[in-house]
């Protein structure tokens, strides 16, 4: 590092120079500028903090939750908020705070798996369609359009109906309905990239289509895809919670927030906290993802700034 900084008075200057000496220096400088801009957006930082908080809570659920999330205790049922039960207890005497804490794991599990399944599928289909064009493009984009022709939740419902209720099946159903927008974005990016000189140069050097797509096109699609996936996270959380609410996602007694809201429905007349607490959790987390996504979009995708 010492060696690299030669000629610059500070790390900051090394990062911000107009004449970077290496690709590494240029990339670091760009990242630094991006981070500076991102941290100027206070709401986006708030979103990031909430999501980091969510991850922290999920990691240390065992230490944070004061009670077991599953064990029932009919003596303690429907207790209002108190020092012992800060969010009260539910209809079978479980501590709602502990259930929400454990539920954060389910939320992360769902959005993590959906992103891991849907984003690669979308990026592969989109880049292949965009790179080859012609017949391949037509067929792949037709398939994409067919999946886009259903409202997401309705298609997810149909898949869950066939696969049976459960959290894994809900994840599969949401993934199946989530990939088409990613494919479209990746295709659009690929079409603008594929005609550029550097791709032609690589092709002249003898690179095959697989190498060009995976090594040179996909990395350039990543940043707009990250923004889109982050913005979609909120929608994925809401869809998963909706499936849970309808009784088709995570099954009782698992502490999924949508399912908790659903089981609290019968008690809204006198016991408001049963639906209020898990619903607030869903709301706060999806709000955080929306704030983070908006902030990322401003940094990574300046075209759409407004």
């Amino acid at each position: 590092m010492e060696n690299r900084l030669k000629g610059y008075s500070s790390v900051r200057e090394w990062l911000l120079t107009d004449t970077p000496a290496s690709a590494f220096q240029a990339a670091s400088g760009r990242t630094y500028l991006g981070l500076l801009e991102f941290f100027k957006n206070r709401l986006a930082v708030l979103g990031l903090v909430i999501i980091l908080g969510l991850i922290f809570v999920a990691l240390f659920a065992r230490q944070i939750a004061p009670y077991d999330p599953i064990t029932t205790s009919l003596v303690d049922r429907l207790q209002p908020l108190s020092a012992d039960h800060i969010f009260g207890t539910d209809e079978v005497g479980r501590d709602i705070f502990s259930r929400i804490v454990w539920g954060s794991r389910l939320t992360l599990y769902i959005i993590g798996l959906v992103a891991i399944i849907a984003a690669p599928v979308g990026i592969i289909i989109g880049t292949v369609a965009g790179y080859f064009g012609g017949f391949v493009d037509t067929v792949l984009m037709r398939i994409t359009d067919i999946f886009l022709a259903f409202p997401k939740l309705i298609l997810a419902l149909a898949f869950v109906a066939a696969l049976g209720p459960g959290i894994e099946n809900a994840i599969i159903a949401i993934s199946i309905t989530s990939w088409p927008p990613y494919a479209r974005i990746a295709r659009a990016e690929t079409i603008t990239i594929r005609g550029s000189d550097f791709i032609r140069a690589i092709r002249l050097q003898g690179a095959g289509p697989i190498r060009i797509i995976t090594r040179h096109i996909m990395p350039l699609c990543i940043s707009s895809l990250i923004v889109r996936v982050t913005l979609d996270m909120a929608g994925i959380i809401l869809t998963a919670a909706g499936l849970g609410f309808l009784g088709l996602g995570a099954q009782p007694p698992s502490p999924e927030w949508g399912a908790m809201t659903s089981s609290g429905r019968a008690y809204i007349l006198d016991y408001w906290w049963l639906i209020t607490m898990p619903g607030t959790a869903i709301f706060v987390v999806s709000l955080a993802f929306n704030l983070l996504g908006d902030g990322l979009r401003e940094v990574l995708d300046p075209k759409s700034d407004n």
Binding site: L153, A161, T261, I268, L287, N290
Partner: protein
């Protein structure tokens, strides 16, 4: 010359419309393929569901052949397509009626909600978006952005429950679940299926008032989501337009500011906004599944959830096809308008 030009343009428009129709047809076939395949992966054996598990192997085999399940898959798909196109979506296990008949009965209730919500979205959301784009950074702009952000983040079923808790259970300002109070049910003849219009036809003003008050909560709720989406999109379209040079030109020429904004700039947003309204309609159909469940609103959404919970596959897939087809139709219509209205797309 002029005649030749119009003729050429017409035939081009006709060609494009034809192309659009072919695309829609292919998409619709794909949609049917998906529902067909979903019907095949179901773990429930459709023959067993008919004959019961005590049937002899001979009977089982006969029913299997009767149902066409011994045929190759593509042939089964062909039979499936032709029956769907004839309007035969199978029989509901739950109601023992043809699925199509069930759907036609419940569908107007959903349309009534989605339509009202779209009106709220258009007449509140679009002006809100315009004002906040014109006065960027103002209080109204911030409010609009918060409305949009909440619309993207609040779970609709939860907001619906909170609304019921406050306006019905706590303060008793609005009626609870259902389309009308119980003692008003089945009085008005369902001529159009739209409760409010039927009440007007039957001159049942008492029931009209009751039905209207029942609609306030679910329609406002769905309308809020439509409004959030439309105001956000309008805002960004308008900001884009107000940057253009023609706006400056119009202002320099002395065109009144309200005409520049509401005529010139908004006029140029009309085309993308049509697409957005069409998309928001799909979101509303989604939202209606959850909203109808909470408000016990007897529409397609409630029908779909009930069928799901009772593993009534014919009804589930039938509703999926209908919703998909409507969504497809709405999008096709917006594409068509796009082509008609935008000279660059011709």
């Amino acid at each position: 010359m002029v005649q030749m030009l119009t003729k050429r343009r017409l035939s081009k428009a006709a060609r494009q419309t034809l192309r659009l129709l072919v695309m829609v047809l292919i998409t619709f076939l794909g949609l049917l393929l998906i529902t067909f395949l979903i019907g095949r992966v179901v773990p429930i054996d459709p023959v067993l569901a008919v004959v019961g598990d005590k049937a002899s192997p001979e009977l089982y085999e006969r029913v299997r052949i009767e149902m066409g399940l011994h045929l190759p898959l593509w042939q089964q798909f062909y039979i499936y397509i032709s029956s769907v196109l004839r309007g035969d979506l199978g029989t509901s296990v739950l109601t023992a009626k043809p699925v199509l008949e069930d759907i036609l009965r419940v569908f107007p209730a959903t349309m009534e909600l989605a339509f009202t919500a779209t009106l709220i979205g258009i007449f509140v959301g679009i002006p809100l978006g315009v004002f906040s784009a014109v006065k960027r950074g103002s209080l109204l702009d911030h409010i609009t952005r918060v409305i949009g952000l909440l619309g993207y983040s609040l779970p609709i079923f939860w907001l619906a429950l909170l609304a019921l808790m406050f306006f019905y259970a706590k303060f008793d300002l609005l009626p609870g679940p259902g389309r009308v109070d119980v003692f008003y049910e089945d009085i008005v003849d369902p001529v159009t299926g739209f409760m409010l219009i039927d009440c007007i036809i039957a001159r049942e003003w008492e029931i009209f008032r009751n039905a209207f008050s029942h609609m306030i909560m679910p329609a406002t709720l769905l309308g809020y989501y439509s409004m959030a989406y439309l105001s956000r999109m309008t805002r960004s379209f308008m900001i884009e337009q107000l940057r253009q040079e023609y706006v400056l030109t119009a202002r320099v020429k002395g065109v009144a500011e309200w005409r520049v904004i509401w005529g010139h700039a908004l006029g140029n947003c009309a085309i993308p906004l049509i697409t957005v309204v069409a998309l928001s309609f799909g979101t509303l159909l989604e939202g209606s599944v959850l909203t109808e469940t909470v408000f016990a609103w007897p529409g397609l959404g409630l029908y779909l959830t009930n069928s799901l919970l009772n593993a009534d596959m014919n009804s589930v897939l039938g509703s999926t096809i209908v919703v998909g087809a409507i969504f497809l139709g709405v999008n096709m219509f917006s594409d068509f308008l796009y082509k008609v209205m935008d000279p660059r797309a011709r």
